[in-house]
């Protein structure tokens, strides 16, 4: 079971694709590396329709390739400055708050607000929201309305993209 200390892994044929002797410097593009070697499929953005239908549409390409310049995932948590330094930013000495309205399905017209800037992950957000409405996190599903007005199921896109897109939140009862 020892790994040979060569460039390629020993034994079965499924490892031959990991032989770096097949590479030569400069001939391989990142694109080849990604698609051919990893057999990647683009991930699909799931759309959640407010009326209850659950359509899966391949509407956008969520994929962590830094050559796809600029986006969503690339500049999250960059540059590498720690929290105490971030607070000092010229843009304001207090961390900015980002309040969005959140509604619980079945709660009539009651609306609450939550400061999204206090959260860094879906987990803590769902946990906090569930508590806010006196529910268990297993009993709720979180959806959000993005800039285009679409209602989407939260959790499919990286947190940074979610933060940029989210306008409103809605908690649905988990009927599963």
């Amino acid at each position: 079971m020892e790994l040979e200390l060569t460039l390629s892994l020993s034994s079965s044929s499924c490892f031959s694709q990991f032989d770096l002797n097949n590479y030569s410097h400069g001939n391989v593009e990142a694109k080849d590396n990604v698609y051919e070697c990893l057999n990647m499929q683009p991930l699909k953005k799931r759309k959640y329709c407010v009326n209850g239908a659950n359509d899966v549409e391949s509407t956008s390409f969520i994929f962590m390739n830094p050559k796809f310049s600029g986006q969503e995932t690339s500049l999250v948590r960059w540059p590498p400055v720690n929290k105490s330094r971030k607070k000092l930013c010229v843009g304001g000495t207090k961390p900015k708050s980002m309040f969005v309205k959140v509604h619980m399905e079945g709660d009539g017209i009651a609306r609450k607000k939550i400061n999204l800037n206090l959260h860094r992950s879906y987990r803590t957000l769902v946990h906090t929201l569930a508590n806010m409405f006196g529910k268990c996190k297993e009993d709720v599903k979180l959806t959000y309305q993005d800039k285009e007005g679409d209602w989407l199921l939260a959790g499919d896109v990286p947190w940074g993209s979610f933060m940029e897109a989210v306008k409103r939140l809605k908690l649905l009862k988990n009927t599963c």
């Binding site: 770096l20 400069g26 990893l38 540059p79 987990r123």
Partner: protein
């Protein structure tokens, strides 16, 4: 091999070895040396708390006086590790409390510390002298109150860069009136007020106090009172350095002039330049100056720095500008470490005249410079080459060009040759962080030349797996590698699997490492934990060829851990793989 020396002689020889790397080396010579060494090691350093477990520690070392533990990976400092990941110190405190009743020093970095944990420390270690919590979180002022109330022998309480839940301003009052041993207090991380009267009384009854780092809320007007009570201070951190009017100036200047032993100054939030000259009387004594919270302009910064002829360490914002760094180059001939932070990191074009030239000037003027952390907006290969030729003695070089993938601004080429020159000329380089536009070529240079490199940080760099392969196959001394947003995938990782066991850890986030590769690596390498950190929903239905969000790989003798949250999976291990070390 028969024992040539009696154990007592060996122990005596070992007592001269203070570095943990020497101790570790000595313990590998033979079984008898291992046994002798373990009975007499009293300072233990654990660089990754999950590489071992508390039981392994207490079984091996019997009379430990000082423990240092590190938890989360370094990128946790930049919020890349989700909350709840792990690194809780409580199980360690429980086990050490059981065995090391004589424990005197606890140093923790990036660990989760709870109030219950602090209470256990306070009540379980009566001899505790030193408590240093660096970049820790999870505790509140209640925990600190328990420490203050119970640690009768405490000399050092240092909360550098911690996140503390501040429930009360009165925790300092829990130090008994009879408690007079304090030598070092660092509360700079606290954002709420602490009771000033309690602070003043504590300082007044602590004749051995050498280090006092206040938090932002302590007003400037109160500084002279504190300094008068503690003129023996060696390290002092101010609070907010501003006041209405100038009434407080002369008493402050006088108070500073009374501090004949002062060597280090920090703090300086909200600086009003008119008050800066109050410290001039101590500037020539200073070896360390941290102005990185001083949002004041270059002329004021240059003036104070020009008085600091003995400065060895300078931390400052980019407000210092190239001109200010020229002042550093001419005034601070003993400078060893330079840190320049960005004042406005999130704005694309902040118009601060700090460029690569500032760093080049310092590299020319300061012949003892060996450690650099520099944030800037432009860089050139020629500047990097100059820096490397000026200062081949550099051991730590961390450059952050704010815009990812920025090329050489003069030639628009990648910065490969510049960084290549750094690793080729700076032969003692142990730490490197890179930024800017970088191809696989720079990694070829690093693999070829950076033989002493211990820690490497890479972001938005490289073209193919070859880049990662060059690093893993070439850098003989590499122990810590952290990578984000690079097109490195399965091939290089799997081809260099055995290298990973020689390292403390590897972090890769937003790269192309697939679930399948992580699983394979975990299966093939029982002494590695391959932690996939992924917050997406429905992880079980994601195909194996999809890249993980983050993977953290580290060597361990303990098999997988069992305190993981749901977004962390250790790949490729069954429950049956857990080692039973007995």
């Amino acid at each position: 091999m028969t024992q040539s020396f009696p154990e007592e002689v060996l122990e005596h020889v070992f007592s001269f070895l203070t570095s943990h790397t020497d101790r570790n080396a000595v313990s590998l010579v033979s079984k008898s040396w291992y046994d002798t060494e373990r009975w007499c090691r009293d300072h233990v350093f654990i660089g990754n708390c999950y590489a071992v477990n508390p039981r392994v520690l207490t079984r091996r070392f019997k009379e430990v006086k000082a423990v240092e533990l590190k938890g989360k990976p370094h990128f946790a400092d930049f919020n890349l590790v989700p909350e709840g990941w792990g690194g809780c110190v409580d199980p360690w405190i429980v086990e050490m409390g059981r065995v090391y009743s004589g424990l005197e020093e606890i140093r923790l970095k990036r660990m989760e510390v709870t109030d219950e944990g602090l209470e256990m420390v306070a009540k379980g270690f009566g001899k505790l002298k030193v408590l240093v919590l660096a970049s820790c979180d999870g505790f509140s002022t209640d925990g600190l109150a328990a420490v203050a109330a119970n640690c009768r022998n405490l000399r050092v309480l240092d909360l550098r860069e911690c996140e503390v839940e501040e429930l009360s301003c009165h925790w300092l009052s829990h130090f008994p009136d009879s408690f007079t041993l304090l030598e070092s207090l660092n509360i700079a991380c606290l954002s709420s007020e602490v009771s000033f009267s309690a602070l003043e009384r504590l300082v007044s009854r602590s004749p051995n106090l050498k280090t006092l780092k206040l938090n932002r809320t302590v007003p400037l007007e109160k500084l002279s009172t504190l300094l008068q009570r503690a003129p023996q201070l060696v390290e002092f951190g101010t609070g907010a350095y501003s006041a209405e009017g100038l009434d407080a100036y002369s008493s402050l200047a006088e108070a500073f002039s009374g501090c004949k032993k002062l060597k280090s100054l920090s703090g300086f939030w909200d600086v009003i330049p008119a008050y800066l000259p109050a410290v001039y009387s101590v500037c020539s004594q200073l070896t360390s100056l941290n102005l990185s919270y001083a949002t004041t302009q270059s002329p004021d910064l240059s003036k104070i720095i020009s008085h600091c002829h003995n400065l060895q360490r300078l931390v400052v914002l980019d407000y210092i500008e190239d001109t200010g760094l020229e002042t550093v180059a001419t005034s601070c001939k003993d400078l060893k470490e330079l840190v320049v932070f960005p004042s406005d990191p999130y704005v694309a074009d902040a118009n601060v005249p700090l460029t690569e030239q500032g760093l080049v000037s310092v590299s020319q003027g300061c012949t003892k410079l060996h450690s650099v952390l520099y944030f800037c907006r432009q860089m050139s290969n020629s500047a990097l080459v100059s820096i490397s030729k000026n200062r081949p003695n550099i051991t730590c070089f961390r450059l952050c060009i704010l815009e990812p993938r920025s090329p050489d601004y003069l030639t628009l080429e990648p910065l490969d040759t510049g960084f290549g020159s750094i690793v080729e000329n700076c032969k003692q380089l142990t730490r490197l962080s890179m930024s800017g536009l970088l191809t696989d070529r720079v990694f070829e240079y690093i693999g070829k030349h950076a033989k002493k490199l211990d820690m490497l940080s890479i972001a938005f760099a490289g073209d193919t797996d070859l880049g990662l392969h060059y690093i893993l196959s070439g850098c003989d001394s590499l122990r810590k590698l952290e990578i984000r947003d690079c097109p490195f995938g399965d091939k290089a990782l799997l081809a260099n699997a055995s290298k990973l066991e020689t390292m403390r850890s590897l972090w890769m986030s937003s790269c192309f490492v697939s679930f399948g590769a992580c699983k394979l690596l975990g299966q093939k390498m029982p002494r590695l934990n391959v932690e996939v950190i992924d917050e997406r929903e429905n992880l079980n239905s994601i195909p194996e060829n999809v890249p993980v969000e983050k993977v953290y790989i580290y060597r361990t003798v303990c098999g997988q851990r069992f305190d993981m949250p749901d977004f962390v999976r250790i790949m490729g291990k069954d429950k049956a793989d857990v080692y039973n070390l007995s």
